[in-house]
C-alpha cells in the first residue's frame, strides 16, 4: 500500500459543491414540481434559481480546470477492460476478486466511470442547464434575450427538465452506493474528502491475485 495524492483541492471543492448544489436543486426543484412543500413555493423557486446560477458558475470553473490541467483526458471513453469491469461488479466483487483496473493519478476512473461521467458531462448536465435556462427565461423576457426564441409552450421544457432530474437522482443513488466498493467501504469517500488515497502497489496486487487463485 502506498498513499497517493489523487484528488486536488479544486477537484474536491468542485465535487462537493456540485454534490451539495445537486441535492439542493433536487429538493427545491421537486417542491416547484408540486411533489411536497418545504421551503414554500416562492422560496423554492428563488432558491432553485440561485443554486442553478451557482452551479453554472461552478461548471464554468470546472471546465476551465479540466482543460488547463488536462484532466479532461480522464473522461475519454475506452472499451478496454470495460467487460472486465462489468464482470467485476456482477461477479468478482462477491468473490473478493481484485479490481480489474488499477487506479492511478493518471487514470483515476475505471472504464465504466469514464462512460458514465462522460454522459453526465456532455449530455445530462448540459440538457439540465439548457432546459433550466429556458425554463427561467421562457417568455418572461426579464432579460429580453430569450424572448426571440419564442418557445410556444413551456411544457416540453419543463418535462425534459423533470425527466433529467429523475435521471440525476438515480445516478446519485447508484453513485453513492458504488463509492463503497473501494478497498474498504470508506476508502473512496475519504479520498474525495482528504485528497489522499491508499492505492495498492503492484506487488500486493500480484500477491492478491495469487491468493485468490489458491482460495478457488
Amino acid at each position: 500500500m502506498k498513499t497517493v495524492y489523487i484528488y486536488r483541492s479544486f477537484e474536491r471543492f468542485w465535487h462537493w459543491t456540485q454534490a451539495f448544489l445537486i441535492f439542493f436543486l433536487a429538493l427545491t426543484g421537486f417542491e416547484v414540481h408540486g411533489s411536497f412543500s418545504f421551503f414554500g413555493f416562492e422560496n423554492a423557486v428563488i432558491f432553485h434559481r440561485y443554486a442553478a446560477y451557482s452551479l453554472i458558475v461552478l461548471i464554468i470553473f470546472a471546465i476551465f480546470w479540466h482543460f488547463t490541467t488536462g484532466e479532461w483526458k480522464q473522461y475519454l471513453p475506452t472499451t478496454k477492460f470495460l467487460k472486465a469491469q462489468m464482470d467485476y461488479y456482477i461477479l468478482g466483487i462477491f468473490k473478493n476478486s481484485p479490481h480489474p483496473t488499477k487506479k492511478t493519478v493518471l487514470s483515476k476512473l475505471n472504464p465504466l466511470q469514464r462512460i458514465t461521467y462522460l454522459v453526465l458531462k456532455i449530455l445530462v448536465i448540459p440538457i439540465m442547464v439548457i432546459s433550466g435556462l429556458f425554463y427561467i427565461f421562457y417568455r418572461y423576457s426579464s432579460g429580453g434575450f430569450i424572448a426571440g426564441l419564442d418557445i410556444e409552450n413551456l411544457e416540453p421544457v419543463a418535462l425534459i427538465h423533470t425527466a433529467g432530474a429523475y435521471a440525476l437522482i438515480a445516478f446519485v443513488v447508484v453513485h453513492v452506493y458504488l463509492i463503497t466498493t473501494g478497498h474498504s467501504i470508506l476508502t473512496n469517500l475519504k479520498a474525495m474528502m482528504t485528497g489522499y488515497e491508499d492505492i495498492e502497489d503492484e506487488n500486493e496486487l500480484i500477491n492478491k491475485i495469487n491468493n485468490n487463485k489458491v482460495i478457488k
Partner: protein, 520 residues
C-alpha cells in the same frame, strides 16, 4: 492555507456572480409616496353655487335647472350629449359585424334583458329627463340631468318609472345650490345598483363603497386614500375613461392599474415576471362581493307565479330575494372566488336579433377573447353570471319582452304576467319578429372584477395557483403551469427508475455482505 484561500475566493466569486445575475433591473417601484401625496390633497370647492343669484329661485321643472346651468356653463351640455351616459350607445366594433353602436339602447344583458319598451322604468339611471322610446329627448339639451352627477346635498333622487325625471319631492333649489365635483355617491347611486338592486350586476361594485373601509377597497378606504370613482376614471370634457368590458368590445379607453402604478411594481423579480401574463386584479382581488351578496344566477323561467292572483316575493334568511313573481328565481353569493379567463381586451357581443345556432349550450352574451398564446392576453378575474332567459325557438332569437307598463292590461309582463303578450309587444317595439312560441335558454355573462382591491396582505400567494389540487387556475388548461401541471408518465417512469436504483444497490450490497461473511 494557500488552498484554503483559493477555495474561499472561488466560492466568493461564484456567489458574487450568482447575485449579480439576479440583481433585478426590472423593478420600477410605484412611487407610493408621490401617489399618496397627490391623492391626499382633495380638490377644494372653489365655487360656492349657493351664492349665485340665478340659483336663488324655486325651480318648477328640472329642465329649468339645466337651462340655468347652461346659461353659465355654456356648451358643456354638448359634451354631455356626446357621451355614452347620455346616448346609451357608442360606436364599437364586433368581429364579423363591423362597426356597431352598442349600449343600453340595444344590448341584451343577463338581468332585466333590455331597456327597449321599458324605458320609463330603466331611464331612472339615464342622465336625462323625460327619456322617450323614440329618442326625441336625446336632442333637447334641457333634458340633460346635471344634478344626478353633481348633486352634493345628498338629497337628489330620480323618481321610479318617471323616465329619468327626479322624484317630485326633491328640493331642486337646494340641490342646484350644492353642486360640485362628483363623489362616490353620485356614481354609486346608479352603478352600485345595476341589474335592479344593490350589487346585483357587478359583484365588485356595491353600496358598501359609499363609505368603504380598508377591507372593502384599499384605494377608497375613507380612513386612508379615500379615492373617488373619477380619480381612476379620469374625465375630460365629460368623457369618462374606463369602459366596462361587458359592453365595450374594443380595447380602448380602459382604466388600468398601470395608469398610476408601474408595470413592474414588486420588489421580487419573480412577481414582476408575472405581470406579463397575469393582470394585477387576479392576485390583488382574491374575492369579490365582500360587503354584500351579489346575484349569481337569474332564472326568468319561474317568473309569473301568483298567489291568490297577486305577485309575491320570497326572501331567504339572509335577506336576499330568492323569488319574485315579476323576475323569477335568484341565487346570491358573498365572498366569492372569481373565475379566471384569458383576456386581451377585446370582446364579442350578442346583439339583439342575432340567431343562436347552438341552443344546447349556454349562450355567452359577451365572450371575452384571449388565450395563452396571444401576446396581448392576460389572466383576469371574472364573475360569471348565469341566467335563464326567454327565447324564441322558431326565430332562434333571445326575446326582449315588454316588462314595464304603467297599467294592467297594457301587456307588460310585470303587470299582466303573460309571456306571450309581453314577448309580442317587446319584439314589436324593436322591430323584430316573434313567432308566437317561446321557451327558455341558458345565457352567461362575464363581468371582469376590477374593483374592491384588497390590502396587499390578502393578495393571492403562489400556491393559490401553483398547486396540484384546487389551483385557482384549474380551468385554464392551454399552458403548462409549474406546480400544478406534470406528466404522469414521466413522474411514474422517474419514480420507477429511482426505486429500481435503490433496489439494485440494496440487493447488490446485500449480496456483498452475504458472500463476504461466507468467505470468512
Amino acid at each position: 492555507m494557500r488552498k484554503f484561500i483559493i477555495v474561499l475566493s472561488v466560492t466568493f466569486v461564484i456567489i458574487l456572480v450568482a447575485f449579480s445575475i439576479f440583481s433585478d433591473k426590472t423593478y420600477r417601484p410605484t412611487n407610493a409616496v408621490v401617489l399618496k401625496a397627490k391623492y391626499s390633497e382633495k380638490p377644494a370647492k372653489v365655487v360656492d353655487h349657493s351664492k349665485f343669484a340665478v340659483l336663488q329661485k324655486d325651480f318648477q321643472r328640472p329642465q329649468d335647472v339645466t337651462a340655468t346651468c347652461i346659461s353659465c356653463h355654456n356648451k358643456r351640455h354638448i359634451e354631455v350629449m356626446q357621451s355614452s351616459h347620455w346616448n346609451w350607445e357608442r360606436p364599437d366594433y364586433i368581429e364579423g359585424k363591423g362597426i356597431v353602436y352598442l349600449g343600453k339602447k340595444n344590448i341584451i344583458n343577463n338581468y332585466c334583458i333590455g331597456t327597449q319598451s321599458n324605458t320609463k322604468s330603466c331611464a331612472k339611471c339615464h342622465i336625462g329627463f323625460d327619456m322617450k322610446e323614440n329618442g326625441v329627448s336625446y336632442t333637447d339639451s334641457t333634458n340633460v340631468d346635471c344634478l344626478v352627477c353633481h348633486d352634493q346635498s345628498n338629497s337628489y333622487l330620480k323618481g321610479a318609472n318617471l323616465s329619468g325625471t327626479p322624484d317630485p319631492g326633491v328640493d331642486l333649489r337646494k340641490v342646484a345650490q350644492s353642486v360640485g365635483r362628483p363623489t362616490r355617491d353620485n356614481c354609486g347611486v346608479c352603478h352600485f345598483y345595476g341589474g335592479g338592486g344593490n350589487n346585483i350586476k357587478h359583484g365588485d361594485l356595491d353600496n358598501t363603497m359609499f363609505h368603504p373601509g380598508r377591507e372593502i377597497d384599499i384605494h377608497m378606504d375613507e380612513a386612508g386614500p379615500n379615492l373617488v370613482c373619477i380619480d381612476c376614471h379620469k374625465t375630460e370634457n365629460h368623457q369618462i375613461q374606463g369602459k366596462v368590458y361587458s359592453i365595450a368590445t374594443l380595447n380602448t379607453e380602459r382604466s388600468n392599474c398601470e395608469d398610476c402604478h408601474t408595470e413592474t411594481p414588486h420588489k421580487a423579480l419573480i412577481l414582476n415576471e408575472h405581470t406579463l401574463k397575469v393582470a394585477c386584479q387576479t392576485c390583488h382581488i382574491p374575492i369579490y362581493s365582500k360587503g354584500t351578496p351579489t346575484n349569481l344566477d337569474w332564472d326568468w323561467s319561474t317568473a309569473g307565479r301568483l298567489k291568490d292572483g297577486e305577485p309575491y316575493e320570497e326572501v331567504d334568511s339572509l335577506g336576499n330575494h330568492v323569488y319574485k313573481s315579476i323576475k323569477g328565481s335568484f341565487t346570491f353569493g358573498k365572498n366569492i372566488e372569481p373565475n379566471y379567463v384569458w383576456f386581451n381586451g377585446t370582446a364579442g357581443h350578442y346583439v339583439r336579433g342575432d340567431k343562436i345556432e347552438d341552443t344546447t349550450k349556454a349562450v355567452v352574451l359577451n365572450p371575452l377573447y384571449g388565450s395563452y398564446s396571444d401576446k396581448n392576453s392576460k389572466i383576469i378575474p371574472v364573475k360569471i353570471h348565469t341566467a335563464t332567459q326567454i327565447f324564441d325557438p322558431v326565430t332562434r332569437m333571445i326575446i326582449l319582452p315588454n316588462l314595464y307598463a304603467d297599467n294592467v292590461g297594457e301587456g307588460a309582463f310585470w303587470k299582466d304576467f303573460d309571456w306571450n303578450i309581453a314577448s309580442e309587444k317587446g319584439m314589436k317595439a324593436v322591430g323584430l319578429p316573434y313567432s308566437g312560441k317561446y321557451s327558455f335558454i341558458k345565457t352567461e355573462m362575464y363581468w371582469p372584477i376590477n374593483h374592491q382591491v384588497a390590502p396587499k396582505e390578502e393578495s393571492l400567494t403562489c400556491t393559490n395557483c401553483h398547486q396540484r389540487e384546487n389551483s385557482r387556475l384549474a380551468g385554464l388548461n392551454d399552458f403548462y403551469l409549474p406546480g400544478r401541471d406534470y406528466s404522469s408518465i414521466i413522474d411514474l417512469l422517474g419514480f420507477l427508475l429511482i426505486i429500481a436504483s435503490f433496489a439494485g444497490v440494496l440487493s447488490h450490497g446485500f449480496l456483498r455482505v452475504y458472500f463476504a461473511n461466507k468467505q470468512k
